[in-house]
């Protein structure tokens, strides 16, 4: 096998054992790697009955075939399983430094099942794997734990760590790499916590990566790295980070304000945008392994109520989730809230959105001090968010913390009083900080059909609507009008295939904007030896998309669940998208036709599945 090693670690935590296993080579060609391969592993070996936090539930971490290659954007991996937040299939992607180190140790991924008797870690040193107890680490934050790991196992050790939120099974706990990079979405930190697993540490002795065609890959890698580095987009990301566009986003109505109740707030735009972060607090730029874009921020706030020492800074999603969403234009507060979430191990998008929902509920008296133990939840009150609400969520230490630790959908179910009207979710996952009403109507469609729920990284629809990428070789060479439903179903069908390719190869969506379709194919062939044509590659993307839908079907998801909250569709009352209606039903209907999805069941018919090499899967769902 090339690029991939063909070997994974299978850890049975109840037995305290971890062994090497191999996967059939065909799984790799058919499902690419990363999120796609994780879906196939779950399909074959996972339990559809096990609750997400039960010991029998599988947690699957997978690299793509490019992890270990010294190319910008390649150092990500995917984690997948049944999400404790949504109850159905999901996955999450993380950059940083773990993926290449795992590959250099000789593994494509790790499957975790069972539960350790007492808190422990998995230590991977080349092909030696140990499961070790670390009772004394339980209760520590991510920052302290990561520092301890560095001290004990050396600076070269790379780790995935959970904070107190994961230990306390908060539904949207995340998993952190080096305190800076997160498997943020869908709550896999809680799954790790439910297995009593505090950290996974990997340390390799050499940088081993064996591609199918080294010479061709090397010259393609140089070509692509130059293209990626020179692009204007990359330069802007390098200078001002992922929030570089926040100000522009406010003007088009893409940035959500006060729980998506407003689409325009001019003063906030300048206060929170990436260039302001650069001017005020940036000390360094940082990057995932081998990435020349270096979009990550290192910040320091030396004084004031939200002072923080030099360390990881927020990206766009965190700035908007703890800024505009909460009615605050205090950039320092977003930095501090982001740092705290990283330490506690909380997904900043769901945390910010759930608090925003709670603030609206409090404003409208659906949530009162009786349910919050006297805590008042007022817009822009960042002291309360940082000092009281976030810690209470992570520790589930109060009525309010317990309620909000569930995520907004379940919290709305718990309090009722019409509060579900103010949700901003799809399939139980809080929407990212891109408002379909201003950012692009196609986002409403792709949020709704995404297997994990409202997600902007499941596919590149956001970038396609923005005019940031074109794929002429597969028929996407036309300009989209973000504020209309025209061609959104057609482009979404391509977007879901490309998204599956990106998330299965574990390529960063910022870096791969510069990669053309024929270059993708060459990359797969030179690195992994898949011998693909463009058609083969696109089919693999579609196959992964279908498989993820089949998994969800087995978890009870149907066509009627492909929805977004009313709040994300109701016409905006201000800003550029004011009064514009989203024709969601029309987009969804057309997408279902084009993707050949059954209008009730939400999955493709038997023949479509057989034609794309999912025959055994078809036999299960179409008995």
């Amino acid at each position: 096998m090339f690029g991939n090693t063909g070997k994974i670690i299978w850890a049975d935590l109840s037995a305290g054992t971890a062994e090497h296993r191999t996967l059939p080579e065909q799984y790799y060609r058919n499902f690419i790697g990363g999120a796609g391969l994780a879906a196939k592993i779950f399909w074959e070996y996972g339990s559809f009955e096990a609750q997400p936090l039960a010991p029998e539930s599988l947690l699957i971490l997978m690299n793509g075939p490019f992890a270990g290659l010294k190319l910008s954007g390649c150092s990500r991996s995917a984690i997948a399983g049944r999400s404790p937040l949504t109850g159905h299939w999901g996955d999450s992607s993380c950059g940083g430094h773990f993926a290449p180190e795992l590959r250099y140790s000789g593994f494509d991924g790790i499957v975790l099942q069972g539960k350790l008797e007492e808190p422990g870690i998995i230590l991977i040193e080349d092909d030696e794997i140990s499961v070790l107890p670390v009772r004394e680490w339980w209760g520590m934050g991510v920052i302290e734990t990561t520092a301890l790991i560095g001290k004990k196992y050396g600076k070269k050790a790379r780790s995935l760590v959970i904070g107190q939120a994961g230990e306390n099974l908060v539904n949207y706990a995340c998993i952190m790499n080096e305190c800076h990079h997160a498997f943020g979405r869908a709550g896999y930190g809680a799954v790790m916590g439910s297995k009593n697993l505090k950290a996974i540490i990997v340390k390799s002795s050499a940088q081993r990566y064996f591609p199918a065609d080294s010479d061709s890959l090397d010259s393609l890698r140089r070509e692509l790295d130059a293209k990626i580095t020179e692009s204007v987009t990359s330069q802007v990301l390098h200078e001002n980070g992922t929030a570089a566009n926040l100000e522009g986003g406010v003007h088009i109505g893409d940035v959500p304000i006060k729980n998506f109740t407003s689409s325009f707030w001019e003063e906030m735009a300048e206060e929170l945008t990436g260039s302001t972060l650069t001017e005020k607090y940036l000390t360094n730029k940082a990057a995932c392994s081998f990435c020349k874009i270096a979009c990550k921020r290192v910040v320091e706030i030396p004084e004031g109520p939200f002072s923080i020492p030099k360390g990881p800074g927020p990206e766009y999603e965190t700035i908007a989730a703890f800024g505009s969403m909460l009615g605050s234009k205090d950039l320092a507060a977003t930095c501090k809230a982001g740092r705290l979430c990283n330490d506690l191990g909380l997904d900043t998008i769901t945390a910010g959105s759930t608090i925003a929902w709670a603030m609206e509920a409090f404003e409208k008296s659906a949530l009162t001090v009786l349910e919050t133990d006297g805590v008042e939840l007022n817009w822009a009150d960042m002291d309360t968010v940082i000092d009281v609400v976030l810690p209470q969520i992570a520790f589930r230490s109060s009525k309010l913390g317990e309620l909000l630790s569930q995520g907004s959908l379940r919290a709305a179910d718990m309090i009722g009083r019409g509060s579900s009207e103010w949700l901003t979710t799809a399939k139980g996952l809080e929407a990212p900080m891109h408002d379909p009403r201003g950012g692009g109507h196609g986002l409403a469609l792709t949020y709704s059909i995404s297997h994990r729920g409202a997600c902007h990284t499941a596919n590149p629809m956001l970038f396609m609507e923005m005019g940031a990428c074109y794929y002429p070789e597969i028929g996407f060479e036309y300009e989209l009008n973000p504020m209309s439903s025209e061609y959104k179903a057609e482009s979404a069908l391509l977007a879901v295939q490309i998204g599956a390719i990106e998330n299965s190869s574990c390529f960063c969506q910022f870096a791969d904007r510069e990669i053309a379709i024929p270059e993708w194919v060459r990359l797969f062939n030179f690195a992994a030896g898949y011998d693909w044509t463009v058609e083969d590659m696109m089919s693999a993307g579609l196959r992964v998309f279908y498989l993820q839908r089949l998994l969800n079907y087995r978890f009870g998801i149907r066509a009627s669940d492909d929805l977004v909250s009313k709040r994300l569709l109701d016409p905006s009352t201000d800003g550029a998208p004011e009064g514009v209606e989203i024709d969601f039903d029309c987009m969804k209907k057309r997408f279902y036709q084009l993707a050949k999805l059954d209008g009730t069941l939400g999955i493709p018919d038997r023949r479509t599945l057989e034609n794309i090499n999912l025959s055994s899967e078809a036999n299960v769902v179409w008995q």
Partner: protein
Amino acid sequence: MEVSDDGCLSDVIQSINIPVEIRPVFFVNHKRCAFDKKLSDGDEIKIVSLIMGG
């Protein structure tokens, strides 16, 4: 900036020569506008770049 009586947004865009790579979007009096939008005295024009969303 002065534009002729029957001037429209595209005249302004041409005169300031904005690179397409930064994906500019144009607003006249806070409303996103097409290039053929006619301009009147005192109109406020805002140009926003959609270089990348995070």
